[in-house]
């Protein structure tokens, strides 16, 4: 185990597609991403004086958008065989 893949998370993984879909973790991260995105768009609309804030927000927003895209793909892979 490393800091990237931890034993704690590996032992807490949902074992079925139903459990995975019901997990609140994905929802929390999605809400966070939507909140950051809305904040970024509002700040961007106020003018160029918010450049530093936008740069700081991007440290969180851009990688978390990628995280959401990957786990949406994984959830689809989990439930597609059921359909």
């Amino acid at each position: 185990m490393t800091i990237i893949v931890t034993r704690f998370v590996a032992e807490s993984l949902p074992q079925t597609p139903g459990q995975a879909l019901a997990l609140a973790v994905d929802g929390i991260i999605t809400v966070l991403v939507v909140g950051l995105l809305v904040t970024r768009l509002l700040l961007q609309a106020t003018g160029p004086q918010q450049t530093r804030t936008l740069r700081a927000l991007d440290v969180a927003l851009v990688p978390l958008v990628v995280v959401v895209a990957i786990f949406l793909y994984i959830r689809l892979q989990e439930i597609l065989p059921l359909g």
Binding site: M1, T2, I3, I4, V5, T6, R7, F8, V9, A10, S12, L13, P14, Q15, A20, L23, A24, V25, D26, I28, I29, L32, R52, T53, R55, A56, L57, D58, V59, A60, V62, P63, L64, V66, V67, I70, F71, I74, Q77, E78
Partner: protein
């Protein structure tokens, strides 16, 4: 740049001597304490409460660190907060992305992609070039010595860390792919984040004591291994790698040492000893 960050030398071929500002004012001390508190509480929420409280904790820590970084943008402690913001991004990815239908070596890649992205964006926001993050040449002897020492330490890591045995019937292709994932998205990513980014930015505030910050972050993140002896072992390794990174100004040696350590500990010794 040189005026804002003493010791920062653009285009320097040797590592810049960073003169630490230290916790000269109360604001810096308060921000440093808040940042450390946010990360510790988030990780404890994960370990004590489980995945959902841990996700909440790291989401709050992320927002807090971004906010502190923005408020103290022109100060070393604000820069350190922005660098530390990559830690909750890594943890959120490592909580959300592993899935039983995906092979474990792909977990490293899936978690690695957003984390590399976060490091790149944070480095750009902090005006750090690859050389500032320690991506620069270093004498090969340094790299070879660390790699050789780590090969021996890998056995200790295997005994202390008690890694999961490799699945029966694992193919050579899977072993090669797992090894590549461990080296790139395990060793290189961890060193780039902890020694390259966090320790480099912490040095602007704390000088040589930045090694303590990087070792503390390593220890905090290894708590999720659920093995206290292994945490102590990895913190000791982190101090060694931090000292080497500071002395050489490069993460080449630490990456080589960390890669050999992980590879021997998680692949070689489980194959040899079962």
């Amino acid at each position: 740049m040189a005026d804002r960050f003493p010791g920062f030398v653009r285009g320097a071929s040797r590592p810049a001597t960073i003169r630490a500002q230290g916790f000269e004012d109360r604001a810096a001390l308060l921000v440093g304490t808040l940042a450390a508190g946010l990360l510790v509480v988030a990780e404890l929420a994960l370990l004590v409460g489980g995945l959902v409280p841990g996700t909440f904790g790291h989401a709050i820590a992320l927002l807090g660190l971004i906010g502190l970084g923005r408020v103290r943008w022109d100060h070393p402690e604000g820069r350190l907060c922005l660098a530390l913001a990559v830690v909750p991004v890594l943890r959120l990815a490592s909580i959300a992305l592993p899935a039983v239908i995906i092979p474990e070596y792909i977990w490293y890649v899936m978690i690695g992609i957003p984390t590399f992205l976060a490091i790149a964006i944070a480095a750009r926001a902090l005006a750090l070039r690859p050389a500032d993050l320690g991506i620069r040449r270093t004498p090969w002897r340094e790299v070879a010595i660390l790699a050789a020492a780590s090969a021996a330490l890998g056995l200790a890591g295997f005994v202390i860390g008690e890694p999961e045995p490799l699945p029966t019937g694992v193919s050579v292709t899977e072993i090669v792919l797992t090894s590549l994932a461990l080296v790139t998205c395990g060793a290189f990513l961890e060193e780039l984040l902890v020694r390259g980014l966090v320790q480099r930015v912490a040095a602007e505030l704390l000088g040589g004591r930045a090694v303590i910050v990087s070792a503390a972050i390593t220890g905090l993140l290894y708590l999720a291994s659920l093995n206290l002896r292994y945490v102590v072992f990895m913190v000791a390794i982190a101090v060694l790698l931090g000292v080497v990174a500071r002395r050489t100004g490069s993460i080449a040696g630490p990456v080589a040492g960390h890669a050999v350590l992980l590879w021997t500990q998680l692949i070689v010794w489980p194959l040899v000893l079962g």
